[in-house]
């Protein structure tokens, strides 16, 4: 249930995101999800891709600073109240969410979460019969 997410350190310089995507595109790596966390000076590009290990190797070859981190993913009906419910389950158990992002596929939405304790989060969400996605599920979207 743990999903490998790529994080790429980027300076705030124009054209850098395009370069990352170009490098991955040239190697036929598919990107399922992408988000950016930025500060005034640098940013972190977070990607869920079809082959994280290969993507990491390619980006390293191109001198990017890359790290693979663990996230979890939940599929829920595309309504805010379900997103709220998921977060409530976690906060009730004092599991902190470091960051989260989501995207909609129409009727369903896919939620990505990074928790201080991903394993406990998985157990808790399963107990509440939430639909957790495996990496292979995500790549098919």
């Amino acid at each position: 249930m743990i999903i490998n997410q790529l994080s790429v350190f980027l300076e705030n310089k124009s054209g850098r995101i395009a370069e990352v995507l170009e490098v991955l595109g040239n190697e036929n790596i598919r990107i399922t999800a992408l988000s950016i966390a930025d500060t005034s000076e640098f940013g972190l590009l977070r990607l869920i891709v079809s082959d994280p290990e290969k993507a990491r190797a390619i980006l390293k070859e191109h001198h990017f600073t890359v790290n693979i981190s663990d996230v979890i993913s939940v599929m829920a009906p595309d309504e805010a109240k379900y997103y709220a419910k998921i977060l409530k389950i976690l906060s009730d158990l004092e599991i902190s969410v470091e960051y989260t992002y989501a995207f909609s596929t129409g009727k369903k939405s896919i939620i990505i979460l990074r928790c201080t304790d991903n394993e406990s989060a998985i157990t808790a969400l399963k107990d509440h019969e939430m639909e957790l996605l495996k990496a292979s599920d995500l790549y098919k979207i």
């Binding site: 997410q5 994080s7 966390a37 500060t39 000076e41 972190l44 001198h63 790290n67 981190s69 990074r114």
Partner: protein
């Protein structure tokens, strides 16, 4: 009409000056040979005894002293008197975090006051002046050096120290400051602050400024003189030799008169270490002729300049040095504070999340020096957390500030963005225009 503080020495015939220098050098050599083991063994290694030095012309036989020697003998190893004779200690930043410590006897303080009195008189100051000292007070020699000189000439000294610009302006106007002492970049900053505050120059009584502790150009001088309607006088000194007071321009503004009866200058080739002929540009070397606490023999300043022995139209015979043209090492002067890139390197080596590749960018924004340090995030330690990267930045900034005394903006950059080079890497980009 030109005034002198000490016409006897400042306008002395050069032959007479040479005999004064020779006699004082012999006394200094006696003192260091018998009181400082470091100098005794250096001289013995060179096959020299006190009797080998008969006149000032023998000075080139003596070995050089460097900032490293001061560091190796930290803190008091090169002092030539018992600590009970030392009445003051100052310190400046050293190359590896250890400061360079200087000690003064009561006579040294009196010599320092004397040469600073000459400096202020050179700038046209006298007992009727109000001298606002906006150099930093404390371990830095700037503030207290000017202070003692100002009191010696009987002026009204305003020891405001550096910073707090609005208070500087208030005192300048309310007390009727006539002479301003600070770094040239701070003088420009104050000039703009005066303009912005709406204070008219007619409300001020400024007539002169003594500016030093950092390099500046003729352009900066013209700008300061135009904006403040004052005479801007360049002064030179370094704490190891005594502090400010080593040399000063006169009203002619054509070179800085070195107080040669106390500090004997030579110009050497920094590569071959051979003395260079009169008028050639090279590294400035000083031998102190009267200092008791920390006498220095052929101390390499690393400042590049040349000497002019012609008598000045002000009447002084003391040799004039040019404005310093640069350094023969990599020391930077930031807001009057000395900074060696190696100090930054030492801090970086202690932080494993950072590659030791770095670049220092120096600029001058609104007349104040700014420092930016660019460092590469290490691949191994990079994690998917903004907070981790930010705390890394803060840790670096704090460590740098405590190691250098300077606020340094840290920018994390992508790996391999800082140029690698086979030879000496270009670590410093200085965008300041002097």
């Amino acid at each position: 009409m030109m005034d002198f503080w000490n016409r006897h020495f400042e306008c002395m015939d050069r032959d007479n000056l040479k005999s004064v220098q020779s006699e004082r050098l012999r006394e200094t050599i006696d003192r260091v040979y018998f009181n400082v083991p470091f100098y005794r063994s250096r001289m013995q290694e060179a096959g020299l005894g006190p009797e080998s030095i008969r006149s000032i012309d023998d000075i080139s036989k003596l070995p050089f002293t460097t900032k490293n020697d001061l560091r190796d003998n930290y803190p008091f190893g090169l002092f030539a008197v018992p600590m009970s004779e030392i009445v003051r200690l100052h310190a400046s930043s050293g190359t590896t975090g250890k400061p360079t410590v200087v000690g003064y006897t009561r006579n040294d303080i009196s010599t320092w006051s004397e040469v600073m009195a000459r400096t202020l008189t050179c700038a046209g100051a006298n007992r009727h002046d109000f001298i606002q000292i906006a150099y930093g007070y404390g371990l830095f020699t700037g503030g207290l050096g000017l202070h003692y000189g100002g009191e010696k000439i009987g002026a009204s000294v305003i020891p405001v120290s550096g910073g707090n610009t609005s208070r500087q302006l208030q005192l300048m106007r309310d007390f009727g400051t006539t002479v301003l002492a600070c770094t040239p970049s701070y003088a420009l900053y104050l000039a703009e602050a005066i303009h912005e505050s709406g204070i008219s120059l007619d409300d001020l009584k400024l007539k002169a400024g003594v500016f030093g502790a950092e390099p500046w150009t003729e352009n900066m001088r013209r700008e300061i003189e135009n904006k403040l309607k004052i005479k801007a006088i360049d002064i030179y000194g370094l704490s190891e030799v005594i502090g400010p007071g080593v040399a000063s321009e006169c009203m002619v503004q054509d070179g800085l008169h070195i107080n040669e009866d106390h500090f004997y200058p030579e110009i050497i080739d920094p590569e071959t270490l051979k003395p260079l002929p009169e008028g050639a540009t090279g590294e400035l070397v000083f031998t102190t002729l009267t200092k008791e606490g920390l006498p220095l023999i052929r101390y390499r300043t690393r400042d590049l300049t040349k000497l002019n022995f012609k008598k000045c139209s002000c009447g002084r015979t003391m040799v004039r040095m040019d404005k310093c043209l640069g350094r023969s090492d990599d020391m930077l002067i930031i807001r009057g504070v000395n900074l060696f890139p190696s100090q930054i390197e030492t801090v970086l080596l202690d932080i494993k999340e950072i590659n030791p590749h770095y670049r220092i960018i120096v600029d001058r924004i609104n007349n104040l020096d700014t420092l930016e340090l660019q460092v590469e995030v290490d691949d191994e330690f990079f994690q998917d957390k903004i907070s981790q990267l930010q705390s890394l930045r803060e840790k670096l900034q704090n460590n740098l500030e405590s190691a250098t005394g300077l606020g340094i903006k840290v920018t994390l950059v992508e790996p391999k963005t800082i140029e690698r080079s086979e030879g000496k890497a270009k670590r410093v980009i200085d965008k300041r225009i002097y």
